[in-house]
């Protein structure tokens, strides 16, 4: 069965817009994906039939809102292959990483070590640097291979008995390389370190089985996974959530408050202080349900066919170079490239005039740019709704930039 890309496209209203006379060739999914009617309808249903605060009221709107919110938690859990009460809703992926850095970080001592990689997004670097300032932990870094993968060959030499946590991107938001998570988990076990995976770029490509992967923490953002803005997810093993102190204090996260002492609610409430982003959570639940309804074997083949078409096309344009794995094995449809003699921002701006949306720059991964001595790259990031016309429009734009701008 071939993949019904037209059928998928019809579910995303923005893809049939004509903007300034140009169709929407949206290839900036790694920054933010588009959202399907299923999500828009779920949020609209909450706002028009169930809007109220959650976990506080006894009236029927509050009951409806709470039920929809908790159903969303269950949808996200099903998407990750875990239990609903292990899902913490956060404000985003960055917020989820900061939560772990703060709350799990409270359990660490000066001299404990955290292991990151050279290709991490700034959001998986800076929260650990803040923790280092607060509590004197140390940060180690796994280097990246010439083809843009985390060099797991260097992993054993970097693990120490003081290494408490390894936190790595599941898929690089720059090179598209897929991490061998199981190999990391196996190595971490040897020293008793926990493993956190930043799934920001992986979640948009289909359901996961976290227990099978064997990780301890997993985080992702709603808006990159066809859901609304302002919502993200932290999953952690229940024993870790139980051991972690709260991050924010406020309503909902308490057991009992007196001025002498306050006790904490159990997870996930302990980590959801205040009124949560209810509509966005409901939208994310719908996005997870939508993703679970897609045939990802076919979708992935379709996406990787587009990657091949892109790579073949770029190769025909003089002076292009790809930053990332050349093979389609263990890689996802995020492709960064450079065009000799043309700055990435000029490539992206030219592409905009062809109706093609991409991202250019350092992609919040400056250490990786430094590693390759680059100012930036042009990044093409795909979703199942992209088709050959998107890739062909992009290639025409790159060829035009090559011809006119150098």
């Amino acid at each position: 069965m071939s993949f019904d890309v037209a059928g998928v496209r019809r579910q995303f209203p923005i893809l049939s817009e004509i903007i300034d006379g140009k169709p929407v060739h949206y290839l900036d999914n790694g920054a933010s994906a588009q959202t399907p009617l299923a999500v828009i309808d779920a949020v609209r249903k909450y706002e028009t039939t169930s809007r109220a605060n959650v976990l506080r009221g006894v009236h029927r709107l509050a009951e409806r809102a709470t039920e929809a919110y908790e159903n969303a938690r269950a949808e996200v859990a099903a998407f990750l292959g875990v239990k609903p009460m292990e899902i913490v809703f956060t404000g985003g992926c960055t917020a989820a990483i900061n939560l772990v850095a703060y709350s799990y970080g409270q359990l660490l001592k000066a001299g404990d070590r955290i292991l990151l990689s050279e290709l991490e997004h700034h959001s998986n670097i800076v929260p650990w640097q803040l923790l280092r300032q607060r509590s004197g932990i140390e940060i180690d870094m796994i280097p990246v291979t010439t083809d843009g993968r985390i060099d797991l060959g260097k992993l054993p030499g970097l693990l120490t008995p003081r290494t408490k946590l390894i936190s790595l991107a599941h898929i690089s938001n720059v090179t598209g390389a897929l991490l061998d998570v199981k190999a990391v988990v196996a190595a971490a076990k040897g020293v008793g370190a926990k493993v956190m995976i930043d799934g920001a770029q992986r979640a948009p490509h289909g359901p996961l089985d976290l227990p099978e992967l064997g990780v301890d923490f997993y985080v992702f953002a709603g808006h990159k996974a066809y859901g609304p803005n302002g919502i993200g997810v932290l999953w952690a093993k229940p024993e870790l959530l139980d051991a972690m102190p709260p991050f924010h204090g406020g309503g909902s996260m308490i057991g009992r408050v007196t001025f002498a002492e306050t006790t904490w609610a159990p997870a996930p409430r302990r980590f959801e202080a205040g009124t949560p982003p209810i509509g966005p959570a409901i939208g994310l639940g719908a996005a997870c349900a939508w993703m679970r309804g897609l045939d990802w074997t076919a979708a992935h083949d379709h996406e990787m066919g587009l990657v091949q078409r892109l790579m073949d096309g770029l190769q025909k344009i003089d002076g292009t170079q790809i930053l990332g794995p050349a093979s389609l094995q263990n890689r996802y449809p995020v492709v960064s490239f450079m065009l000799d003699g043309v700055h990435p921002h000029d490539v992206a701006q030219t592409l905009d005039s062809f109706g093609v949306a991409v991202r250019a720059g350092h992609h919040c991964a400056q250490p990786l740019m430094d590693r390759f001595d680059l100012d930036g790259t042009t990044r093409v990031s795909m979703a199942p709704y992209n088709d050959t016309s998107d890739i062909d429009a992009l290639l025409a734009g790159v060829a035009h930039a090559a011809k006119t701008l150098r």
Partner: protein, 135 residues
């Protein structure tokens, strides 16, 4: 639309690379970074006793707009002091629509940037660096 943004005049300015490179013995130098896009400009100048520019060199790691602006600036800078450079800055601001009035050449070439807010800093970065060098 951006096709107009990269009109021939701007591309020609960038390709001309007027004043591109380091000076051997600059009186002053300054570097400016744009944290948003990572563009970077280093400007070297030599000055006479009255603070007038006698030589200028620029190194741009940045986009075409930034390169074109550095080129335009270098073509005008020699003989100018800080006040003269401030006048050129007004011209640049007029060209990109941040100030009233018509801009003179060569900055008039940047008129299409008026419609691209996110790219205006690219044009101003070399002027910022030169201002720092003269401060």
């Amino acid at each position: 639309m951006s096709d107009e943004l990269y009109q021939e005049k701007i591309v020609a300015l960038a390709k001309a690379k007027t004043g591109a490179g380091k000076l051997a013995a600059p009186t002053r130098s300054a570097r400016r970074d744009n944290p948003l896009c990572g563009d970077r400009v280093v400007i070297d100048v030599t000055l006479d006793g009255q603070g007038r520019i006698t030589g200028i060199g620029h190194q741009v790691r940045g986009c075409l707009l930034c390169q074109a602006s550095a080129s335009a600036l270098a073509s005008l800078a020699v003989g100018k002091d800080a006040a003269g450079i401030a006048d050129i800055r007004h011209d640049a601001e007029r060209a990109i629509g941040r100030e009233q009035g018509a801009a003179a050449e060569p900055y008039a070439a940047f008129a299409p940037v008026a419609a691209h807010k996110s790219r205006q800093e690219c044009v101003l970065l070399p002027l910022e660096a030169l201002k720092d060098a003269l401060a």
